[in-house]
Structures are given as structure tokens and as C-alpha cells.
Symmetry: C2
Subunit: 126 residues, 2 copies
């Protein structure tokens, strides 16, 4: 499988795949022309990467998941290192959720206040 095919099948770009390789996440053989050749198993790896990126992990965080997959596990998140990252990210997401919730409440308050004030200026139009 060439890089273009892998990219399309994984729903990403050749550029991204080279970037992942550069950061030690994806592996490729080279054919006589210097083209990257991927076997089927890399498709799972790339999909794992994409899923985790979408969940807000950075490439460094994703490394243990890929290693876990390569070690023969059916999913990348069952190994101790992955679990540690998972826990950390879960805590981060939780904290950020709390922050965002606070922000939302403040925004709601300001919006309500603004509307209230406008009604004071134009009272009883009915």
C-alpha cells in the first residue's frame, strides 16, 4: 500500500502520515524507488492516531497507544502506559469542562443582565 492509498483509507493526508512517521508513530518499508510501503496493520495504527487526535491528545501522548497496538493488543488503550495517559487526559478534560461550565454561567449572567437593562430603558412597550 502506497502513502496515498493509506491516507485515503485512513481519512487523512499523505502530509500527515509523513509527519506521524517523523515523530515515530507510523512505520513504513521502502520499495526500490524509495516509495513508502505500508502493510495492512498500519491502517489500524493510523486510525488509532486519528481517533486520539480528535479526542485532544497530542502526538506524544499517542505514542504509548501505538506501542500497545504493535505489541499485539486488539486495542491501543489496554496497556499500563496508555491507561496512565488516559487517566491524565481524563482529568484534564474534566478540569476543562469545569472551567468551561463556569465560563458559560458567567456569560449567561451577563447576557441576562444586558437584556434586563435594555428592558429598563424601553419599558412596557406593550
Amino acid at each position: 500500500m502506497l502513502i496515498g492509498e493509506l491516507a485515503e483509507r485512513a481519512g487523512t493526508s499523505a502530509r500527515a502520515l509523513r509527519y506521524y512517521e517523523q515523530h515515530g508513530l507510523v512505520r513504513a518499508q521502502r520499495d526500490p524507488h524509495g516509495y513508502r510501503r505500508y502493510d495492512e496493520s498500519e491502517l489500524r495504527v493510523v486510525r488509532e492516531i486519528r481517533t486520539l487526535l480528535a479526542a485532544g491528545f497530542g502526538l506524544d501522548d499517542i505514542r504509548p497507544f501505538v506501542a500497545c497496538l504493535r505489541a499485539g493488543n486488539t486495542s491501543g488503550h489496554v496497556c499500563p502506559d496508555s491507561v496512565a495517559v488516559l487517566r491524565r487526559r481524563l482529568a484534564e478534560v474534566g478540569a476543562y469542562l469545569n472551567e468551561l461550565t463556569d465560563v458559560r454561567e458567567r456569560l449567561r449572567g451577563q447576557l441576562a443582565e444586558a437584556i434586563e437593562q435594555r428592558e429598563e430603558q424601553c419599558p412596557k412597550i406593550r
Copy 2:
């Protein structure tokens, strides 16, 4: 008031203040030496900027709030333009909260699965 004093009183840096000015948010007079001179009212402006930045607004979004303050309002969020931005940001925050919540649930699921699988491998140690 010089830039250093304003920065300290507003809890930010001189660099940031110059940046805000460059983007049309903060205004300064110049004294004979070319130093920026701020009057007291700029302190409120800068504090408004900081608060909104902390709530995830970009500098462009903050502009109407500053204009609202300059127009003599006691708070920056009571003007129509500010309210529009407020609504938009509120929607964004809501959407992001939903996304993050989904992410959290998936992470929780994976964590639970990983722990479950580990127990299968080391059953009944007691």
C-alpha cells in the same frame, strides 16, 4: 500613568498592553518623551479585556465590549454588538462543552474497558 504601572495594576505586561493598542483596543496619550500616558479609565478597559480573554474571547471579539465601555456604559456587555458576540460565544462554549462531554464519556469507557481486561488476565488473586 505609565505603561508599567498600568500593566501591574491590570495584572498583565507592558508587552500585552502595546499589543492591545496595536489592535485598536487600548488608547494612550504620548508625553514629550514619547512615553505612553494612560488615564484611569484605561484601567477598566484593560481589565475588561483580560476578563474576556480569560473567557476565551479573541481580541476581535473584545472590540465591541471596549467600545461599549468607552461609550460611557458601566459595563461593556450591555450594548447590542456586545450582546451579539456574547450570544455567539455562548453557543460556541455550549457546543464545545457537548464535544468535550462526549470525549470524556469515550475516555471513561476505554478506561473501564482497560481495567476490566486487566482483571481478566489476573483473576481471583485473593
